[in-house]
Symmetry: C2
Subunit: 339 residues, 2 copies
């Protein structure tokens, strides 16, 4: 790498990497659509059952093919960069956190795989470029929605390269005075479905019910959010937080390829990403950025100063964070190798 | 009305009504997008605060304007038809069920209002044409997704007038042998947020946790669904059931304008819509169509015969219905005036 500091990337370099990432993201998304279309064609011809693959095979093949396409595209142009892909990582045995300070691509070729197998539009390709553990470029393309989200350090976050996020701009204002009231709260049920009081399923459901209940309910913890949403894609949850459509997203269990690009989107749009689990001193602690591989995330949408000047956008975001922490049950997800 | 039977509508008439409904649906959807865009423009100019409206005002005005546009378009062409619109109905005091056997338009100018205020793409216009209490035409247009769903009695269900639903065709096959396992289960948290054991919130959450839990959990009621989804739009939930993207949708509390068009979509695509609440003899009762104004709905996606010939598509749907009923807590929604 050029640059005065080891591993630093200049703005000029970043600009060209950004254009490249968008191009690769679009191409990869088109390959996802191609896989979906060929599945429609293929499976409508019942005469060739020997060529059929089941949904799991199709996802595995699509995942592998698209990740390989992205990986090769990157290797050709940036042979010195590291690469961590969901598909190749998952084949390994280790769940160690492997991201170093080197310029690193973190890629999920297909986020929302269950949605993809069901042809539900909430799936996407997610490409992040990370330097010194910070996502500095994020590209998320949901081809069936025709929505491309992109962000680059210092350049803001964008929808389809033409509309700056958040979509409603300053009209979003601060977080509601009674947040999480009036908020759209996005959350996912996840894969841990054990039915015992200490399972993540029950910890999540307790939190969900706190967020949904009337204010007087749940021994005063009722959050009375305006809406509860579950899309089945962590990446798109974050994209819609960046867009300002979701006020809050709270989740545990994700891996870095699920969130790296989305975190860049949210931060460049003016949002905040911290940890899902309330610190011991949650009422007055400093609110720190989420660790990339920490598996615990709480995202808050972009915010602007209150009309009456009573607080800044950041202050309103931090207020909302503490109001979620107040109602959040600690989740139980581990991560070896993360300091 | 012409026709040999009172209130009957011939196939020719229906065809022309169908084309009209699609045109009006598209136009109405463009008006929703216009309202969204003008909000972006208007609210980015902080110099004119006196012209600002809050999100609730905007929705009310958009709702009213778009419903009036649809109502007038219908009245000009079909002055003899009845009209029931969400906005005009809600202004009345009565919650009586008002649909007669006459040809009747049932319209929700904006379903997913919370999504609309947050610029989250899952909002739509919903237009149904109902004869003898049966939805025979359904048009649902989600303009921010650019997805137009349409269906007409005997003509099937379509996406953007070009792709027949379900999207994956016969490859969908029957419902999974272990349904609700492997299924995407769609559900909504709704507006009843009372925190007591008999509230609809708690009845719903009990059902949700049954559906999500590992099979051995919940005293054997664990459904281990593949995914839980909540979009915040009953109409789009039904559209995605028709598309085959959601296998199951279970909900109470909707009104006829939330579901009339969607029911037509699901039925024309080959799906099934019955009641959310398990009958007393749920294990072997005949499975009846949901009542239009019954406020309780369980929808199952289109299905085809099992590859091994062991059951028809309908049989697999009915099996799935009973497996949801087994796990569903009875919901408490009333409807005066419905026989």
């Amino acid at each position: 790498m050029k640059g005065t500091k080891e591993h630093s990337v200049s703005d000029d370099e970043l600009d060209s990497v950004y254009r490249f990432a968008i191009r690769v993201g679009r191409d990869a998304g088109q390959r996802l659509m191609g896989a979906l279309h060929s599945r429609r064609r293929e499976l409508r011809e019942p005469d060739v059952p020997e060529q059929k693959m089941n949904a799991v095979d199709i996802v595995t093949k699509t995942d592998t093919d698209v990740e390989e396409f992205i990986h090769q595209s990157i290797s050709q142009l940036y042979p010195d960069h590291d690469f961590i892909g969901e598909e190749s990582y998952s084949k390994g045995q280790s769940k160690q956190y492997l991201v170093t300070d080197k310029p690193t691509w973190i890629v999920d070729p297909l986020d929302g795989t269950v949605n993809f197998t069901h042809a539900f539009p909430m799936f996407c390709v997610s490409i992040a470029f990370v330097v010194h553990q910070k996502p500095v470029i994020g590209v998320v393309f949901a081809p069936m929605l025709n929505q491309l989200f992109s962000a680059c350090r210092g350049k803001g976050a964008w929808l389809n390269e033409s509309t700056q996020l958040p979509l409603l701009g300053k009209s979003l204002g601060s977080l509601p005075k009674n947040a999480p009231g009036e908020c759209i709260f996005s959350c996912e049920w996840g894969k841990d479905r054990r039915d015992n009081p200490s399972s993540n399923l029950h910890r999540k459901v307790d939190t969900f019910v706190n967020m949904a209940s009337e204010p007087a309910g749940r021994r005063g913890l009722g959050g009375m959010v305006h809406g509860m949403r579950s899309l089945g894609s962590a990446t798109l949850d974050l994209a819609y937080v960046a867009m300002g459509s979701f006020d809050l997203w709270w989740e545990g269990g994700c891996w870095e390829w699920d969130v790296a690009a989305g975190i860049c989107l949210v931060q460049e749009a003016g949002g905040l990403v911290t940890t899902a689990n309330p610190p011991n001193d949650w009422e007055d602690c400093q609110i720190e950025q989420a660790k990339l591989g920490g598996r615990l995330y709480l995202a808050v949408r972009p915010a602007f100063g209150a009309v009456d000047g009573s607080e800044t956008g950041r202050q309103s975001q931090e207020r909302a964070v503490r109001e979620v922490w107040r109602r959040a049950v600690t989740l139980d997800y581990e991560r070896p190798g993360l300091s």
